[in-house]
Amino acid sequence: MRIGVFVCQCGTNIASTVETEAVAREALQHPDVVYATSYMYTCSEPGQQQIQRAIQEENLQGVVVAACSPRMHEPTFRRAVEKAGLNRFMFEMANIREHVSWISNDRQANTRKAAELVHMAVAKLRFNHPLSPSRVAINKRVLVIGGGVAGIQAALDCAEGGLEVVLVERQPSIGGKMAKLDKTFPTIDCSSCILGPKMVDVAQKENIRLYACSEVESVAGYIGNFSVQIRRKATCVDWNLCTGCGLCMEKCPAKKVPDHFNEDLGNTRAIGIPFPQAIPKKATIDKEHCRQFTRGKCGVCKKICPVGAIDYEMEDEFISEDFGAIIVATGFDLFDHSSYGEYGGGRFPDVISGLQYERILSASGPFGGHIQRPSDGRQPRNIVFIACVGSRDASVDRPYCSGVCCMYIAKQAILTRDHLPDSNCYVFYMDIRSPGKNYDEFVRRAQEEYGVNYIRGRVGKIYPKNNHLIVQGADTLLGAQVEVEADLVVLATGVEASAGARELAEKLRISYDQYGFYMESHPKLRPVETNTAGVYLAGVCQGPKDIPSSVAQGSAAAAKVQALFSRDTIETSPQVALVNERACVACGKCIQVCPFGAIQWKELRGGIQKAEVLPSVCQGCGLCNATCPPKAVQLQHCTDNQILAEIDVLCA
């Protein structure tokens, strides 16, 4: 083999702590290396041209680039060598930036390490073989998990492009958190006025099938060919019959059922439609509170239902659907503020969360849009907003900024002043985060035009006194203690990963961070892809963000799916396991351990059994390779010999 080695300086990113020239010089000493050089930016156009020229002029059969992480630029360089006529797998990368130059300033040790990493890459490359991808057909159906605004946007965009979409929503209605909001910042336009039509669109699009009250049970398969089992939870109402007339809800005798849609600020019935604009507009029985279930007798709704849709015996139903791609838009939950003992720990009815206040503000909310205290229905005069409750606070393991609270407090304060011009609004804040378009102007309006009192500082304590809540805090700008006699306290509760996010990630085989937010493929360059091909992210499930960003991600994910589906087939990676039939002793252990069912028996002449890998099913994990005692199964591009060659450079 004739190998060329290209050591990137990455401007000064690498060159400042690694002697790239020396690394290239040493590389020339390794067997098969016939060309080695160092260059300022190997990934740049001229850098890639240099590689291509060397391939031509030096007749290179293999290329090593020592530069940044292969997770960054391996695809770039593979394309570059392929353009020059090499097979893209005749390429190896040594990571001398993230793993060398950026983690130590010891020039000598870094240079040594970089040289050894290059040596390992060369040693491995000597065992590389050209590999060619095969193609499999794509099932052009897309699954969207989560019917909040991000999921709705993704589903609509996909459907608009003619794709068949299945939208799975855990709740009885789509709409997500946005459906609960009264107005949206910074335009103060009505949330349900802008979301409602989109929800209706979902219901009306012929190529969107909506499964509400449903969850993803299991996911098998791979990009282009996922097979998903969906659990349709028993609603005890046959939705094929239910007309959404609401009669059952009217007559239901269980009247003290906490209204979750209204954040438990009011009561609802044990059967019903969560809110007037719900999509689908179908009734659901809350088994926890339904007398038929709690007391074993009632049957009022069954008697009253004009279409006979009530079915107490209904059980969860499982359906299997096949998809080519999956968009995950599972949203978020709110931080539970009861862990803040100094704010009452959930004990004071007039210390409420931001979302509860949204419901209070909402004309369709529990108080019909009149601002009143949950405790006694009195109209509050002094209202205190406390920012960063469950955000930017390492003591409750939420060190991150939820990104939306500063803005929604400003909005809520403005709306409060609008509704109750005589009221006083106070906002305790740490910093104001308002980096969006027209956002900072909006906050300034709250302060300047609406006279909201912004106090920079933390609240130390809230305690009740004479039907008021005394809010004690510090004003760090004045350096003084502040005490406000409040009637209502709104906590700007932060955003956290939704319940069950981790379990779903495990089913989808995507990663999540320590807080349960899903990991994108690359924080900047691949923001809606995951590391599992064919699974895309949209909305807050990936990290806190506001409505415009969620909608943008929904559209972006849809665009990714459209791009994927614009071809009829997809290349499958040739980095899959391969059985050497001669060495296979037919012990079956590979078949036993393969997580994907990608290995099966194959019968040769004379009834001899051998293992056989299905390359389109194999995901290339190499578990079979590690398990196979005679090493008859070898993971291509990560064979035993390749790993051994790398080890031997270091140890032998």
Binding site: A109, R112, C621, G622, I643, L644
Partner: protein
């Protein structure tokens, strides 16, 4: 690899072989780099798709041939890109870890751990701790004692 360096921080370079899964820990090491989290320089990382790819024999061979330490790192259990690869791996790796001392090879020279792609700081901590541990153990005599001989030569 027992070259000596003039820099007092590297009186003697160690050979620590790292086997990192592509999806989590390799990404975690990248994250640590991107964040400029400073780390000891003895580790040499070999990228594997999954810790499930790790035949314990790779580790045994590295230590037999005289690697001073071997570090295997993958996705957190239940968070494997391939669903269950690391669940197989942790059994196999733990069995090896317990077997090594029976054969006279210090089990402390081998560590396996789980670091996700977002845990750059944790990676820094793992590398620093393990490198310190290996440094305190000194060069691996291997099964032939060649490194010890080379050190005295």
């Amino acid at each position: 690899m027992t070259q000596s360096h003039d820099n007092p921080a590297h009186k003697q370079a160690l050979t620590i072989v790292g086997f990192l899964c592509n999806w989590c820990s390799y990404g975690g090491a990248d994250t640590a780099g991107v964040c400029r989290f400073k780390q000891p320089t003895d580790l040499r990382i070999i990228r594997v798709p999954c810790t499930g790819r790790m035949d314990p024999l790779f580790i045994a061979r590295s230590l037999i041939l005289g690697a001073d330490g071997v570090l295997v790192s993958g996705c957190h259990p239940k968070d494997c890109h391939y669903a269950v690869g690391n669940l197989y791996a942790r059994r196999r790796l733990e069995v090896l870890k317990r077997m090594l001392p029976f054969m006279g090879i210090d089990g402390d020279r081998f560590r396996y751990t789980w670091v996700s792609a977002s845990e750059g700081q944790r990676w820094q901590q793992v590398v620093t701790e393990f490198s310190e541990q290996i440094r305190s153990l000194g060069p691996n005599p291997g099964v032939t004692g060649k490194s010890a001989a080379a050190a005295t030569a």
